[in-house]
C-alpha cells in the first residue's frame, strides 16, 4: 500500500476537478456524495497505510516516496514527494476522518444553499491542501499546502460574501496569516542557506549531526518557523483572526478552524522537532506563548454570548495547550491532544451548527435555553464532547490534557508556573463549557414565538455525524492511556521513531548537565488530583451560577464591572491593533503609496508606456499594406543592411 500514498491527496483533487466541471449541472445530492466519497476513499487508503506501517519493524517506520522532481535550479532542488511515518499517518487519519464526517454533515447542513457546489469544491480543495501539508517530504511542498489551506480558509470564511462582514472576516484572516507566513518563509530560506537543502530527512540529519544544543542559527530558524505557527494556529498575539473566522459556515469552523488547519502549527513544530530540541531558548518562548494563550483565551470565553465565539476562544485556548506541550518537548502529547481535540471540538462545532439550524441561524445563547427537550441527539453529543474537553476522567480530553499538564511540570523544560497556568485554564475551560451547556440546553427557551415554533432536531445526516464524533470524543483517548493507569501509552510509543533524534539530543544534553529525570508516580497522582479538583470547581461554579441562582452572573458582572468590561471586550486587543497597526498603515498607504506613488508615479508611467506601445503598434501596422512588392522591398532592405554590416564593415 505504501507505494500508493499518492492516492490519498489524489481523491480529493479528483473531487475538486469533477465538481468544478460537472457539479454546476448536477443535483445537490450527487455533488455531496461525490465530495464525501472522495474523502472517504482517502480515509480508507490512510487506514490501510496505518495497518501497513504497524506491520513494519520498530525503527523502519519512515517511508519516503518521490513522485517526481519538481524544481531544479542551480543547487536548489525540490521534489513532489511524500514522507509517510507515524506522525504523518496520524495526521492523515485525523484530517481525512474528521473531514469525512463533516462532509456528510454538510450535505444536510448546506442543503438548499445557492453555493452548495462551490462549498464542496472548496472543502475538497482544502482537504487536498491539508494532506499536502502533512504528507510533504520537504519544506517547500509543505509551504504549498500551508498556503493552500490558508487560501481555502479565506474562501470559506467569506463563503457568504454578499454580506460585507463575512468578506471582511476573510480578509482579516488572510492578512493576519500573512504575517505568520512571512516568518515561516524566512525560516525556510534560512534553512536552505544553512543546510543547502529543504528535504526533511536531510535537514534533520544534518541538524542533529552538525549543530549542538543552543546554536544561534537553530534558535533563529525555530523562532521564525514559530512565527508561522503563531499565525496559523492563532496564538498570542496573532490569534485575532480566528474569532472573526466564525463568519463562515459552521462545518467550515468545525473542520478548518477547529480540527485541522489551525492545528497545522502544532504539526509543523512536531515535524521540525529536531530543530526545536536544538534550540531550548526557542522552546521556552513556545511554551510561554502556549501557556499564556491557553489561559488568556479561556478567560475571554467566559464572557461571550455567541455560541460559536465561545467555541472559537476555546479552540485558541486548547491549541495553546498543544503549543505548550511542544514547548516542553512533549511533542507526542501535543499531537495526542491535537487528535482528541479534533474529535471533541468538531463535535462541539457541529452541535453548535445543529443548534443554529434549529434556532433559525441565531447564535446568541441568551435567546436559547431548554433545547435539551427539543433536540436530544444534539444535546447528548454536545454534553459528551463537553465532558471530554473539560477533562473528566475516562473521556479522551482527560488523557491528553493530563499528559500535557504532567509534562509541563515534570519535563526538563517544564516548571511549576507553566503547570499552574495550564491547570487554572483547565478549570476555566470547564466553567465556560458548562456555562454554555447550561445556558443553551437547560432552563426555559427564551426565543420569541417565531423562532420557537421552528425549533426542531436536525436531519439524520447531521445527527449521525454528531454521534460518530461524540463516540470518538469518548473513546479516542484510550489509545494513549499513560503508564500511570497501567496503559502502555501506545500512541506515544507509535510516534517514537519520529522523535527519536530529539530524544537522543535531549539525553546527551541532560547527561552533561546531570539532570535528574525520574519523577515519582505519587507526584503525578497528586497533580492530577489537584487539576481534577479545579475542573470540578469550575463545573460546580457553572452549575451554581447558571442553574441554581441565575441572577448571580448579572450580579457578579456588575460588581466587578471594569474587569468584566475589559474581558467582555476581549481586552480591547482588536481596538489596540487597529489604532497601533492598521490605521497607521492605512494612512501611509492611502496618502503616500496610493495617491502619490501609485496614481501619479506608477500609473503615469504605465499608462504613458501603454499609449506609446499602442501608438507604435498602430503606426507599424500601416507598413503591412498587403502588396507583395512592399514586402519584398522590406526584405531587400534587410538583406542590404545585413550584408553591409556583416561583410563590408
Amino acid at each position: 500500500m505504501l507505494d500508493y500514498v499518492w492516492l490519498v491527496p489524489l481523491f480529493p483533487l479528483l473531487g475538486v476537478i469533477f465538481n468544478t466541471i460537472f457539479g454546476w449541472k448536477l443535483k445537490e445530492k450527487v455533488v455531496g456524495i461525490i465530495g464525501s466519497t472522495t474523502i472517504g476513499l482517502s480515509l480508507l487508503v490512510s487506514i490501510l497505510l496505518l495497518l501497513d506501517l504497524l506491520k513494519l519493524p520498530e525503527h523502519h517506520k519512515i517511508f519516503e516516496l518521490t513522485l517526481f522532481k519538481w524544481i531544479a535550479a542551480g543547487s536548489f532542488a525540490a521534489e513532489i514527494g511524500f514522507q509517510i511515518d507515524p506522525l504523518s499517518v496520524i495526521m492523515m487519519l485525523v484530517v481525512t476522518g474528521v473531514s469525512f464526517v463533516i462532509h456528510i454533515y454538510s450535505i444536510g447542513y448546506m442543503h438548499g444553499d445557492r453555493g452548495f457546489n462551490r462549498f464542496f469544491i472548496f472543502m475538497n480543495l482544502f482537504v487536498f491542501a491539508m494532506l499536502l501539508l502533512v504528507m510533504a517530504n520537504n519544506f517547500l511542498l509543505m509551504f504549498v499546502g500551508w498556503e493552500g489551506v490558508g487560501l481555502c480558509s479565506y474562501l470559506l470564511i467569506g463563503f457568504w460574501y454578499e454580506d460585507n462582514n463575512n468578506a471582511d472576516a476573510g480578509k482579516k484572516a488572510f492578512i493576519v496569516n500573512r504575517i505568520g507566513d512571512f516568518g515561516f518563509l524566512l525560516g525556510i530560506f534560512l534553512i536552505f542557506t544553512t543546510f543547502g537543502t529543504i528535504d526533511f530527512t536531510d535537514v534533520f540529519h544534518k541538524a542533529a549531526v552538525n549543530f549542538h544544543v543552543g546554536d544561534g542559527t537553530m534558535v533563529a530558524i525555530a523562532l521564525l518557523l514559530f512565527i508561522g505557527a503563531v499565525g496559523k494556529s492563532a496564538q498570542l498575539p496573532l490569534y485575532v483572526w480566528l474569532p472573526d473566522a466564525m463568519a463562515g459556515p459552521t462545518p467550515v469552523s468545525a473542520l478548518i478552524h477547529a480540527a485541522t488547519m489551525v492545528t497545522a502549527g502544532v504539526y509543523m513544530i512536531a515535524r521540525t522537532n529536531v530543530i526545536y530540541t536544538l534550540a531550548p531558548a526557542a522552546l521556552m518562548v513556545v511554551a510561554i506563548v502556549g501557556a499564556l494563550t491557553a489561559i488568556y483565551a479561556a478567560t475571554i470565553g467566559i464572557t461571550q454570548f455567541d455560541i460559536k465565539k465561545v467555541l472559537a476562544y476555546s479552540t485558541i485556548s486548547q491549541i495553546g495547550y498543544m503549543i505548550l506541550a511542544c514547548g516542553v518537548g512533549a511533542y507526542s502529547a501535543g499531537i495526542f491532544h491535537l487528535m482528541t481535540h479534533a474529535f471533541f471540538k468538531a463535535c462541539l462545532f457541529l452541535g453548535a451548527g445543529s443548534v443554529m439550524h434549529a434556532m433559525s441561524n441565531n447564535t446568541d445563547i441568551r435567546i436559547m435555553g431548554g433545547l435539551r427537550k427539543y433536540m436530544p441527539a444534539t444535546f447528548w453529543t454536545f454534553l459528551l464532547a463537553t465532558l471530554a474537553i473539560s477533562g473528566i476522567p475516562g473521556f479522551s480530553g482527560f488523557f491528553s490534557k493530563d499528559e500535557i499538564l504532567w509534562q509541563s511540570f515534570s519535563s526538563s523544560y517544564g516548571n511549576f508556573w507553566l503547570w499552574i497556568l495550564g491547570a487554572v485554564a483547565a478549570g476555566i475551560t470547564a466553567f465556560y463549557m458548562f456555562r454554555l451547556v447550561f445556558v443553551t440546553f437547560y432552563g426555559k427557551l427564551r426565543a420569541d414565538e417565531e423562532i420557537a415554533r421552528h425549533v426542531h432536531e436536525s436531519p439524520k445526516t447531521m445527527t449521525v455525524s454528531l454521534w460518530i464524533l461524540a463516540g470518538l470524543s469518548v473513546i479516542g483517548g484510550f489509545i494513549g492511556i499513560p503508564a500511570i493507569f497501567g496503559g502502555g501509552n501506545r500512541f506515544e510509543h507509535f510516534l517514537e521513531p519520529v522523535f527519536e533524534k530529539s530524544a537522543a539530543i535531549r539525553e546527551s544534553a541532560m547527561a552533561v548537565h546531570g539532570y535528574a529525570v525520574e519523577q515519582g508516580h505519587s507526584l503525578e497522582w497528586t497533580l492530577m488530583g489537584i487539576v481534577f479538583a479545579i475542573v470540578l470547581l469550575g463545573i460546580g461554579l457553572a452549575y451554581l451560577m447558571y442553574i441554581k441562582k441565575t441572577d448571580l452572573p448579572g450580579l457578579v458582572s456588575r460588581r466587578i464591572k471594569p474587569v468584566y468590561q475589559l474581558v467582555f471586550n476581549k481586552y480591547y486587543v482588536d481596538e489596540i491593533y487597529n489604532a497601533l497597526v492598521v490605521q497607521p498603515i492605512k494612512n501611509v498607504s492611502d496618502y503616500l503609496l496610493w495617491k502619490f506613488v501609485d496614481v501619479k508615479l506608477i500609473d503615469g508611467t504605465v499608462n504613458g508606456t501603454g499609449y506609446l506601445v499602442r501608438f507604435a503598434g498602430r503606426s507599424l501596422r500601416t507598413i503591412q499594406t498587403g502588396f507583395v512588392q512592399n514586402y519584398a522591398l522590406v526584405f531587400i532592405l534587410g538583406v542590404v543592411l545585413l550584408l553591409l554590416y556583416v561583410v563590408f564593415i
Binding site: 519538481w70 513532489i80 506601445v613 503598434g617 507599424l620 501596422r621 514586402y631 534587410g638 550584408l643 554590416y645
Partner: protein
C-alpha cells in the same frame, strides 16, 4: 587507388520512408475506394505518424550516419523530429473540425501534410547543405499547396501565392549562400566548411556573404524581422490547422538548421555576427508583440505573436550554449502545444466559411457558454504570455536563463519587457472570454471528437510541462549537439 564503399545505413531514413509511404497511400487510396470519410484518412495518417515515431525512438542514442554522411541520425535531429511529429499529429486532429470541412480534397491535405513533415525531418537530419535545401523545398512546396487548399476562397489563394512568391525569393538567397560557401571552402557539408573556417578563420567576403545569405534564407522561414512581412497574410489566409502546423514546425526546422549552422561554423565567436543576431532577435520580439497589440482579428494576432516567439527562440540561439539548445527544444515543444491548442480553439469556434468568428468581439462571454473551449483558450493564453504554472513560463525561464549565463543581460531585459507587452493582448482574449457580456449570439458548432482530444492533450501537456518540467528538460539535454 583506395575505393571505400559508401555506408548507407538505410534505417537512418526509416522515419522519412514511412511518412512518404503513408503520404502516397493517403493520396492513392481514394482512387480505389470511393466516398472515403476524412476521419478514416486522418486515422491512416495518424498510424503513419505513430510508426514514424517508433522508428525515431528506435534510432535514439545510436548516433547513426547514413548515406555516407549525408544523413545524420543524432539525438539532436531525433528530438526535433519528435516535436514536429507531435505538431503534425495535433494538426491532423484539428483538421477534423466542422469549419475545416471545406477543403476540396482531403486526401491531398493529409498527403501534403505528411510530405511537409518529411521535409522537416530531412532538414533537421543532415549537415549537408544540399540535403537541407532539398528538405526545405519539399517542405515549402507542400506548404504552398496547403496554404491554398481552400480553393474557393480568395484569401486562401492569396496566402498561397504570396507565400510562394516571397518564398521563392528567399530560397534564391539561401541557394546563393550555399553556392558562395561552396565556392570559398570547396564543400557543401557544414562540418567540412567548419573545418575550413577553423583553419582559415571566419573571414573573407565569400564566406561572410555566404553565411549571411544562409542566415537570410532561414530567417525568412522562421519569420525573423525584417523578413517576416509575409507571415500575417499567409497565417490568416491559410486554413487554421495549416497555420498551426507552420507556426511551430517550420520555425523549429529553421532554428534547428540555424543551430547546426552557428555551431559548426561558429560565427558566434565573431562580434559583429552576434550583434547582428542580437538586433534581429530584439526586432523580432518587439515588432511581433507591438503590432500584435493593434490586431482585432485573433488569428492575425496569433500570427504576430508567433513572430514574437521566434524572437524569444532566437535568444536561445544567441546563448550559444548547450543549455540554450535544450531550452530551445523545450520551448519549441511547449510552443507547439500551446500554439496548436490556441489555433484549435479558433478552429473550434469557427462556424463555416462565411462565419469564422475570428474577431476578438466574437469571443465575448464564450468562456461560460463553452466552458471547455474557454478554459483551454485561457490556459493557452496564459502559457503564451508566460504565466506560471504553465509550460510557457518555464520555457521562457530556461531560454532567458541560458542567455543570461551567456552574458546577454540587456537582451533578456528587453525580452521580459516584451513578455509584459504580450500579456496585454493575450490576456485581452481571456478578458473577452470571461468578463464581457456577449454582443450577439455566436453560433458555435459541436466540437468534433478529434479536436476535443487535441485540445485536451495540449492542455494537459502545457500544464504538465509547467509543473513537472525537469523530466522533459533532462530529455532534451541528452539531445544537444556536442561542442565542435
Amino acid at each position: 587507388m583506395d575505393l571505400s564503399l559508401p555506408v548507407i545505413h538505410i534505417q537512418s531514413i526509416y522515419p522519412q520512408m514511412i511518412l512518404v509511404l503513408f503520404a502516397i497511400i493517403v493520396v492513392i487510396l481514394p482512387l480505389f475506394v470511393h466516398n472515403l470519410k476524412r476521419e478514416l484518412l486522418a486515422l491512416i495518417s495518424v498510424v503513419g505518424l505513430v510508426l514514424a515515431y517508433f522508428s525515431l525512438i528506435n534510432l535514439w542514442g545510436q548516433n547513426l550516419t547514413g548515406f555516407n554522411g549525408m544523413i545524420v541520425g543524432d539525438n539532436f535531429s531525433i528530438a526535433f523530429s519528435i516535436i514536429f511529429l507531435v505538431g503534425a499529429f495535433l494538426a491532423v486532429l484539428l483538421s477534423l473540425n466542422t469549419v475545416e470541412n471545406e477543403y476540396l480534397n482531403y486526401s491531398d491535405f493529409y498527403s501534403m501534410l505528411l510530405f511537409a513533415l518529411v521535409g522537416l525531418l530531412m532538414m533537421v537530419s543532415s549537415t549537408n547543405l544540399l540535403v537541407i535545401f532539398i528538405g526545405l523545398e519539399i517542405l515549402s512546396i507542400s506548404l504552398y499547396v496547403l496554404a491554398g487548399i481552400r480553393k474557393m476562397r480568395v484569401d486562401s489563394i492569396e496566402a498561397s501565392l504570396k507565400y510562394f512568391l516571397l518564398g521563392a525569393f528567399a530560397t534564391g538567397f539561401l541557394l546563393y549562400g550555399i553556392a558562395l560557401l561552396y565556392g570559398a571552402s570547396g564543400s557543401i557539408d557544414l562540418v567540412e566548411i567548419g573545418k575550413y573556417i577553423q583553419a582559415n578563420g571566419f573571414s573573407g567576403t565569400f564566406i561572410l556573404a555566404g553565411a549571411a545569405m544562409l542566415l537570410i534564407g532561414l530567417s525568412f522561414k522562421a519569420a525573423f524581422v525584417p523578413f517576416h512581412m509575409w507571415t500575417p497574410d499567409v497565417y490568416q489566409g491559410a486554413p487554421t490547422p495549416v497555420t498551426a502546423f507552420m507556426s511551430a514546425g517550420v520555425k523549429g526546422a529553421a532554428l534547428a538548421v540555424l543551430l547546426r549552422f552557428v555551431w559548426t561554423i561558429a560565427p558566434l565567436s565573431k562580434a559583429d555576427w552576434t550583434i547582428a543576431i542580437w538586433i534581429i532577435a530584439f526586432l523580432t520580439m518587439t515588432v511581433g508583440n507591438v503590432v500584435a497589440i493593434a490586431q482585432s482579428n485573433v488569428k492575425r494576432m496569433l500570427a504576430y505573436s508567433s513572430i514574437a516567439h521566434a524572437g524569444y527562440l532566437l535568444v536561445g540561439v544567441l546563448a550559444g550554449s548547450q543549455l540554450g539548445q535544450a531550452s530551445i527544444m523545450y520551448y519549441l515543444l511547449v510552443y507547439t502545444m500551446m500554439n496548436l491548442g490556441a489555433f484549435g480553439v479558433i478552429s473550434y469556434l469557427g462556424n463555416s466559411n462565411k462565419q469564422e468568428n475570428l474577431n476578438l468581439r466574437d469571443y465575448r462571454g464564450l468562456g461560460f457558454k463553452h466552458p471547455f473551449a474557454g478554459l483551454a483558450m485561457a490556459i493557452f493564453m496564459f502559457s503564451l504570455a508566460g504565466v506560471p504554472p504553465t509550460g510557457g513560463f518555464v520555457g521562457k525561464f530556461y531560454l532567458f536563463n541560458s542567455a543570461i549565463q551567456a552574458g546577454y543581460l540587456w537582451l533578456v531585459i528587453f525580452g521580459v519587457m516584451n513578455s509584459v507587452i504580450s500579456a496585454y493582448y493575450y490576456l485581452r482574449v481571456v478578458v473577452n472570454l470571461y468578463m464581457h457580456e456577449p454582443e450577439k449570439e455566436v453560433a458555435v458548432p459541436k466540437a468534433s471528437l478529434g479536436l476535443s482530444f487535441a485540445l485536451l492533450i495540449a492542455m494537459v501537456a502545457v500544464l504538465q510541462m509547467g509543473i513537472m518540467s525537469s523530466s522533459y528538460f533532462e530529455f532534451f539535454r541528452q539531445a544537444v549537439i556536442a561542442m565542435p
